[in-house]
Amino acid sequence: MLKNDVLIKVDNVSKLYQMGEVTVAALKEVSLDIYQGEFIVILGPSGSGKSTLLNILGGMDLPSEGKVFMEDEDITNYNDKKLTVYRREKVGFVFQFYNLMANLTARENVELATEICKNALNIDDVLGAVGLSDRKDHFPAQLSGGEQQRVAIARAVAKNPYLLLCDEPTGALDFQTGIKILSLLKKINQDFKKTVVIITHNMPIGEMADRVIKVRSGEIIEMKVNDSPIPPERIEW
């Protein structure tokens, strides 16, 4: 990886929450570069600040201090409107609980996302890629958890974002389904050339990453480049 391929640069970011009279730091002066096309796993126990970091990367939240650059543009200076455009054009989210719209079909859920994007991918191609071509007219309630998560991934990918942010994507799934979802994410990373960031507390998932970042108590405690990531099918937990 070359330095000039930096997609996102996190520079000394802190996030403080005011809880009554106590100030809690969810992130403490975190700095981090994310490279184009990278597959990153951020590992940490709950409360470590990994979700906060993900939210800040995704333009869902703003840091209290520090800066975040997306292709040299400082997104921490963005107003609400610009942040919305940022989320719309550059980021795709995958959530632990899928968060699909219950009263839209699988295909409609994907369309909901692509309707407002300029460079959206062909929906049917993406649904095909996640293996849901024949389930696309089903409502979320008619789909299994794994299928729902695949719809969520399709929804995120079809926007054709620079960055795919996944918050515990396997957290609500059984082992087998989880592995399938991870393979899918890896495939997306390779076939669609998307930068993928996964946050999880599940250590073995780190083995498939190009780089593993460990977070604890709002700080990065370890950053490890994985020279030979293993294919997801070989992960076990």
């Binding site: 719209m101 839209l104 409609e108 859920n109």
Partner: protein, 785 residues
């Protein structure tokens, strides 16, 4: 279609009960607004068109006797376009049943056709110059079931004059047919108008070459100056004994019609606003609930890059759609409805239909009004969308602080309450906003339902107070001309009388400063047994030796108070006007009169021992026995009044029912929607209860208990609210001629409460399905929207 819109439509489909119930309110609001506004305009135009066709006069002057030459002389007054004399006199009509009392107004028609107040022939022919023919006013003709060619027999100056009915006509003066200002209700079978030739009228009434009424048309450009012209007319005609002069706007039929049109407009606005406001509040609560439940979806939308505006618009479209659906259906309904209502009015009033128009402006106003209401309520309801931060929305919402409620601190009470009631009370007190709205809604339902129930007893009360307490005679007899007191003794010889009093009733114009009013001043014996004068606060007033007692309404019109000296202007050419002191102000619900000691009244007329009628109680057949007696003008019995009152009651039952229905719809919509909202907000809570072992019935019982408690509180608030609505209704309906007593029977409160509870129960049953359908365990498993 945009996927957000697809989602919206499916959202509506899932809450169709709410969508429909709110839409119904919007439909009603819009239908009432558009159709009533159009009816009012169409009616107004039709009436004025009719006035044009028939050349309805602008000023009507009643005189003692006026020669033709004096009428022609009126043209010297600037602004008078046309002046015309006629004879008009009320006389008894002979009918088959000797006990039935029917009166007709015999009106002369000018020799030349046309002129002012020309009649409008509905069918039949014109009256002939020679021969005894008459044209009869349609309402009277229909009410008495007459046919062309029938004979009717007015009894004029002691003689019967059989006349052939040759035509059935309408007149701009009698679109709303009432005998006089004192009549409470129209009674077309008891009072009618017949038209005869001028020659006939002049000869039978002894008015050769002269008249007792002048109808005047004023040039359009002088109409603004009508008061000045009337003064000139009165001055010029003074020596012919001006009894009174009436402007068109004070004309009985015209003013009743205008009141009808006005009340249509007032009603259309008031009901429309009420329904829209309630719909708006429900929309507001419903949308804020939907937004709250959709918190995570909103977070996802924001994460996907939807901006606040599109998300806000997404939810506001829900209410906009209610507005649009309501508007479209409302408009579709209102056009034929306004046609039907206009036709009904026109049929009722017997006027030829003018072009029925659709006034598109009301449709535009209606749509604007509903859209604005719906959009604003939608925006307010959904505004919390803006506050939802995408990052926060992914986390479940922190539980609400569930502290103790104040009632728990009062241990002696709280400890006695059972566990399930404790939950009920906690729920109510923790959702104060929702409970308050439900309470208010029930109070409003109670209030709205109370008005028609109260109104149905109003006329009865008024009747009872006027004819049972204020004046207690069974018969009120008028002579055809003033008589000597001896006539009372003669009457006692003719009929078996329990009690009899003479009365003197004379029209005067009472003047206080710049305010004036023509009324009948009634002279009664000092020890009258038939009148009970009381102050508005209920204290008895005796007839003073000198001075006058004014009816409360009259005192208001004149701005007169006790101790004021008012000018009593008579209509006799040679008698001076005199000042009289106001000695008392009495309550009089029906009509406005002034009362004096009979002897004092005679003094005003420079007479002694003069009576114009008698008041009496008798078990005798009074009407029959007095039928052919000379100089007996009219015999009015309270029983007759009661019967025409009962007939009138039948007609108001219908409008009462409509209003109750409105109250019911309102109540249903409020209770149904609030309950549905409350259930969907509490799925989690109910699910937990189910897990604890409560069954569906018990949960439903809990919700019902909450509503029952709130209903009870709502009715408690509804009672003073309903009272207030009734008072304002009464104030709105009271006219110069009658003031409505606010007497609310305990029955009214009870019936209203029963109706309200009924509406609540219906709404409650409609929500039962919702609870039984809830898959409570599913709700526990996922928190997704």
């Amino acid at each position: 279609m945009k996927k957000l819109d697809v989602r919206l439509l499916r959202m509506i489909k899932n809450s169709k009960g709410q969508f429909i119930s709110i839409s119904v309110m919007v439909i009603l609001a819009l239908t009432i607004y558009v159709s009533f506004s159009m009816v009012a305009d169409n009616l107004y135009n039709t009436i004025y068109n009719y006035y044009d066709i028939t050349n309805f006069g602008d000023v009507f002057v009643e005189v003692v006797r006026i020669p033709k030459a004096a009428i022609d002389h009126l043209y010297t007054i600037e602004g008078i376009e046309e002046a015309q004399g006629r004879i008009s006199s009320d006389v008894p009509l002979r009918v088959a049943d000797p006990n039935e009392k029917v009166r007709v107004r015999v009106v002369s028609l000018p020799k030349e056709s046309g002129g002012i107040n020309s009649i409008y022939t509905i069918y039949g022919g014109e009256i002939q110059e020679h021969g005894k023919t008459t044209a009869v006013l349609q309402q009277f003709f229909d009410a008495r079931g007459m046919r062309l060619g029938d004979k009717i027999t007015p009894y004029i100056a002691g003689r019967e004059y059989p006349l052939d009915i040759v035509g059935v006509i309408g007149s701009p003066e009698y679109i709303y047919l009432m005998e006089n200002e004192q009549s409470l209700l129209p009674a077309p079978e008891k009072f009618g108008v017949i038209y005869v030739t001028e020659d006939f009228a002049q000869s039978v009434f002894g008015f050769q070459g002269s008249y007792n009424e002048v109808t005047i048309k004023i040039k359009d450009e002088y109409l603004h100056d009508i008061d000045r012209i009337i003064e000139d007319i009165e001055e010029q005609l003074d020596r012919y004994g001006v009894r009174r002069s009436i402007k068109r706007e004070d004309h009985l039929s015209h003013s009743m019609l205008m009141q009808e049109v006005d009340s249509l407009e007032v009603m259309s606005t008031a009901i429309t606003l009420l329904f829209l406001i309630v719909a708006a509040v429900i929309i507001n609560i419903m949308l804020s609930r939907i937004v709250k439940n959709d918190r995570m979806s909103i977070g996802v939308m924001k994460a996907l890059g939807y901006n606040n505006f599109s998300i806000l618009a997404h939810y506001t479209k829900f209410s906009l759609l209610i507005g649009l659906v309501g508007s479209i259906i409302g408009i579709i309904l209102s056009i034929p409805l306004s046609g039907a209502f206009t036709n009904l009015y026109i049929y009722y009033f017997n006027i030829p239909m003018f072009e029925m128009q659709v006034y598109y402006i009301y449709i535009v106003y209606g749509i604007l009004l509903t859209s604005i209401f719906c959009i604003i309520s939608g925006l307010i309801g959904a505004r919390s969308v803006l506050r939802i931060l995408p990052a926060d929305s992914m986390r479940p919402e922190a539980p609400k602080t569930g502290g103790r409620i104040w009632l728990e601190k009062i241990k002696p009470i709280w400890n006695r309450i059972s566990f399930s009631w404790k939950m009920v009370i906690r729920n109510i007190l923790r959702n104060k906003k929702r409970a308050a709205f439900l309470m208010l809604g029930i109070a409003l339902t109670y209030g709205i339902t109370m008005v028609p129930i109260f109104m149905s007893s109003v006329w009865g009360n008024m009747f009872m107070l006027h004819y049972g307490e204020f004046q207690t005679m069974e018969y009120n007899i008028d002579f055809t001309k003033p008589m000597n007191t001896n006539v009372i003794r003669e009457l006692q010889q003719l009929i078996d009388v329990d009690y009899i009093e003479p009365k003197t009733e004379i029209p005067f114009e009472l003047v206080n400063g710049w305010r004036k009013k023509v009324v009948s001043v009634i002279g009664v014996p000092k020890d009258t047994q038939f009148y009970n004068f009381t102050t508005p606060t209920g204290f008895r007033i005796d007839i003073p030796n000198s001075g006058v007692i004014l009816a409360e309404g009259l005192a208001n019109i004149l701005g007169a108070d006790i101790g004021d000296e008012i000018l009593v202007k008579n209509f006799m050419p040679d008698i001076d006007d005199k000042y009289v002191e106001v000695k008392g102000i009495t309550q009089q619900y029906l009509g406005i009169n002034a009362y004096m000691n009979q002897e004092e009244l005679n003094k005003l007329m420079e007479e002694r021992g003069m009576v114009t009628g008698a008041l009496l109680n008798s078990k005798d057949e009074v009407a029959t026995k007095l039928r052919d007696i000379k100089n007996i003008g009219q015999v009015q019995s309270v029983t007759d009044m009661k019967n025409s009152f009962l007939e009138f009651m039948d007609t108001i039952i219908y409008s009462m029912g409509v209003m109750m229905l409105f109250g019911g719809i309102l109540g249903f919509a409020i209770v149904y929607n609030v309950t549905v909202i409350s259930i969907s907000e509490r799925i989690m809570e109910f699910s937990s209860l189910r897990v604890l072992g409560f069954d569906k019935k018990e949960i439903y019982k809990m919700v019902t208990r909450e509503n029952a408690l709130i209903t009870f509180l709502g009715i408690t608030i509804g009672i003073p609210l309903g009272y207030g609505l009734c008072v304002s209704m009464v104030q709105g309906l009271s006219t110069e001629l009658y003031s409505i007593p606010v007497i609310i029977n305990p029955n009214t409160y009870a019936i209203t409460a029963i109706s309200t509870i009924f509406f609540v129960i219906v709404a409650q049953l409609a929500t039962m399905r919702k609870i039984y359908k809830l898959n409570l365990l599913d709700a526990l498993k996922s928190r997704m929207s």
